[in-house]
């Protein structure tokens, strides 16, 4: 039996977590070491997976399939293909960097790192699971550690933000559970296997049925993406979460929603996906423009980046709605890029918060002179975020727009407006933080230190690498996306 790579990736953090439980509370150095080693190994394994991945096959690779509960035909089925490989690498990378970034957490470290590793396992599992039940279990496992991480180490309104996040996501996911059950009983040989359901050899579902099931899944995924009406938990959760956790929250958790559309809703419920294409595009547009405008009015740095995430994920919705190869590629790449860029932005906000203990943008000013290296890094990430060509943000936004334009010309044209507003509020932030005369409160502020730089340099390298040569990652996903489009019968553009 070949080395179970995917199980290793998923359960390595959990294993380390259990080991940490045994370590006495005061040995913080050892605890940090174990946590960093575990996330490091996961990163190495994911790179190993990247190298071993064969580009042009769109089938599942490294898949493992053991039966778990035969009576109800639930089996422990893991696999990776073009769609999920980028997101797994993103999770592993952010997991490792945020782990290094959490050295700043000083109190109750043993519990922190245990919950952090449990969170990692949940996230990795969600992207790897190919069995609807297993997917749902991992999806919910993420909730509990995230509640504690926001609740215990969060900011002033942490309890409200933590419980709101927990209830909001849970409300969405329970309806997803009903849809999973409905799918299970509708399929001829009752199965939870996503590939079987997508391949259609266990019964074609009626359109009306598909729409209801799609709506159930939509509730679960839309809250996570987040899509317009369900996004109010995001700013609270981001503002109150400690920095490394809001990096994971923005970098990975938002992608689970989008990934759900790619893996479950679109391949299995084809007619419903086409039926809902226009509403998706409109919601994408609202996300982009509304998110951008609201971000502009924020004075709290983290809240602004949170709303910018809402705006950027709007491009994912637009790309998905376009039903074109370019649109899908753009949407998937946008999720990857947004993870990297927003992860970096949150780390940078953390650097500033550790020094100034405030996130109010108006209180800063002229830090460019005092913290030159920090200013440089912040400028790179800000420009990547506003979609400057030559950096990764532009490539995916451009492809999503390109795909979107083919299907919905007017909507995409309006959402291009979003790019200008994004440029507006990001530069307005740069101007208030970095440029202008030095605010005398921050005369003694120290520049970014080695450890923080260590967490940011790899992200910057990825941003620039993908910006300059996007085929590096597009090759991985184009085969799987092409097959998905053929299945759905979208435009082969």
């Amino acid at each position: 039996m070949p080395f179970p790579l995917l199980t290793a990736i998923t359960f390595m953090p959990l294993l380390a977590g259990i080991i940490i439980l045994l370590v006495p509370k005061n040995r913080t150095g050892l605890i940090k070491g174990i946590a960093t080693a575990a996330t490091g190994i996961v990163l190495v394994l994911s790179i190993l997976m990247l190298t071993g991945f064969d580009y042009n096959s769109s089938a599942m690779q490294f898949s493992e399939n053991l039966s778990w509960i035969p009576q109800v035909n639930i089996n422990y089925h893991l696999g990776v293909d073009g769609i999920s490989i980028g997101l797994i690498f993103l999770t592993a990378l952010l997991g490792f960097l945020a782990c290094v970034g959490s050295y700043g957490i000083k109190e109750r470290q043993k519990e922190y790192y245990f919950l952090y590793l449990l969170l990692n396992t949940g996230m990795l599992g969600t992207f790897l699971a190919l069995d609807l039940f297993l997917f749902y279990v991992f999806w919910e496992v993420v909730l509990v550690p995230m509640y504690f991480l926001i609740g215990i180490w969060g900011g002033p309104r942490k309890e409200y933000a933590a419980i709101k996040f927990f209830i909001y996501t849970l409300a969405g996911s329970v309806f997803m559970l009903l849809s999973i059950l409905a799918l299970y009983f509708a399929s001829q040989p009752h199965t939870f296997n996503m590939l079987e359901l997508a391949s259609g050899n266990c019964g074609v579902f009626a359109k009306g049925f598909q729409i209801i099931v799609f709506a159930g899944f939509y509730l679960g995924f839309a809250i996570k993406v987040p899509v317009f009406p369900f996004h109010t938990w995001l700013p609270d959760a981001h503002v109150e979460a400690p920095t490394p956790i809001s990096v994971l929250l923005a970098g990975v958790l938002l992608k689970m929603g989008g990934y759900g559309f790619f893996r479950i809703s679109y391949p299995i419920l084809k007619d419903a996906a086409i039926y809902f294409a226009l509403p998706f595009a409109i919601l994408g547009l609202i996300n982009i423009v509304y998110g951008a405008f609201v971000a502009m009015a924020q004075t709290d740095f983290k809240k602004m980046v949170a709303y910018s995430s809402v705006s950027h994920m709007g491009f994912v919705m637009l790309g998905l709605a376009s039903m074109t190869i370019t649109g899908f590629n753009g949407a998937l790449l946008q999720m990857f890029n947004h993870g990297i860029i927003t992860g970096g932005l949150f780390l940078l906000v953390g650097v500033l918060y550790d020094r100034a203990h405030t996130r109010d943008i108006d209180k800063f000013g002229g830090l460019g002179a005092k913290m030159p290296v920090y200013a440089g890094v912040l400028t790179v990430f800000t420009l990547a975020s506003l979609g400057l060509p030559g950096l990764s943000g532009f490539v995916s936004e451009f492809m999503s727009l390109m795909g979107g334009f083919i299907s919905f010309r007017l909507i995409t044209a309006i959402s291009v407006l979003g790019i200008v507003i994004t440029a507006g509020y990001f530069l307005y932030m740069i101007q208030r933080v970095l440029l202008g005369p030095l605010n005398n409160a921050w005369t003694g502020i120290s520049d970014i230190n080695k450890r923080e730089l260590f967490t940011l340099v790899p992200l910057m390298a990825v941003v620039i690498a993908i910006g300059v040569y996007p085929l590096m990652i597009l090759n991985y996903q184009s085969a799987a996306i092409a097959k998905l489009i053929q299945d759905i019968g979208g435009l082969l553009l």
């Binding site: 778990w68 509960i69 035969p70 009576q71 109800v72 519990e111 039940f133 749902y136 279990v137 919910e140 496992v141 909730l143 509990v144 509640y147 504690f148 609740g151 215990i152 942490k158 309890e159 933590a162 419980i163 927990f166 209830i167 849970l170 409300a171 329970v174 309806f175 559970l177 009903l178 059950l181 409905a182 299970y184 009983f185």
Partner: protein
Amino acid sequence: MSVSASIGYFLPELILAGAAIAVLIAGLFIRNKAVLGALCLAAIILSICNMPHSFQATGPLFSNMLINDSFSEFFKEITLLVMGLVILISIGYKPLDDESAGEYYFLLMSAAVAMMLAAASDNLIMIYISLEAISLISYILTAFLKHNRSSSEAALKYFLFGTLSTGVMLYGISFIYGLFGTTDLSAISSALLSSGVNGLAASVSLILIFAGLSFKCALIPFHMWVPDTYQGAPTPITAFLSAGPKAIGFAILIRIFLKNFFPMFPDWVDIVQAVSIITMTAGNILAINQEDIKRMLGYSSIAQAGYILIGFVVGTSLGIQAVMYYIIAYVLMNIGAFGCVILVFNSIKSDCIEEYSGLSRREPALAFCLTVFLLSLAGIPPLAGFFGKFMVFAAAIQSKYYMLAIAGVINSVLAVFYYVKVIKFMYLNDPRTSVKEPKPFPAKLAIIIALIGILVIGLFPVPFINWIGNSLL
């Protein structure tokens, strides 16, 4: 089967009865509670070993008063499990020290015998007698703390409410006897299959019986006694009440309504469906802003009964499997949670949830266990509670009860409010007192058993599903 022959299959009950009397007498001489507890545990383990396995001989016993089928065997094993855990946690319970332990264990043992009889009874008379026996014993147990005002008040309320409801059930049984001429369930079911019967009278009397049983399982119209009794009774007894009688109540419900009176299924299904939805919703909503944790767990157990009822209302074999699986998980979760409540009570002498703040700093292990129990009650995967809910919702969706499933799902979100509120106090707030009580070993053992039980059942449910699979009706 004649009386003398069926004694052979009656061994576990006999062992327990013998142990009960032995404990009563021993109580006069031995002051040490632990020894008596150990004696009872030995008896329980002994009776589990020689439980008559269903494949030996399934058939009526004692001239078909009882029936020895795998279904009753399942519930006998559940009863023994409950009894074992309750005895373990009651050894560590401080207020019981000055009461006489012998009587306490005697009552528990006899309650076990009564429950095993109820699980196996196949005759309406036998059902009434065993139910009444269980109730009487639980009234006395609830009032066990003689000098505690709330304990006696709780017992009185429980008594008055209980005897009235059982009275109503008896009235219903009398009509069934009138209609069918016999109280033997299998005879009645064959009568139902062959010739039709006056539907209306039968269904009204069935509802009267349902009233009595819904008192036992604390379903909505007959749940009023639960909060006061759970809060007033000594905590091990509350744990016992929330697990034992309730499980047996559901056993009898399934036996009567889904096995014997199945042909009349369509008559009462929509009423019980309404009861299920109301029970879930009311249980959850009422539990949201409770201050006393025992009272909150009381309401939560009402809500859990609502979920179990979904599986019952559906009536399919998957539904019954879901009910039985959920009962296993429910029993473990509830007794585990009450075990933790006991240990916390020992150190902070209060059941108020605000007092729980900062528990994770004072006693991290205890806080972790209580968190796992509460999360499992809330239905968070990968714990047993989630799989129970999953099975129940699967049964509902399989037979197209979409309304029921959606109500169940919304309620599991509502439930998270108050479960997480306790967790919030334990983890997110700072500790108020720093007193730390040494925890008695048996109570810790019970909690650990429950904890492992939940994790194992949640992650590897296969052996349990097989166990349930072949113990269906």
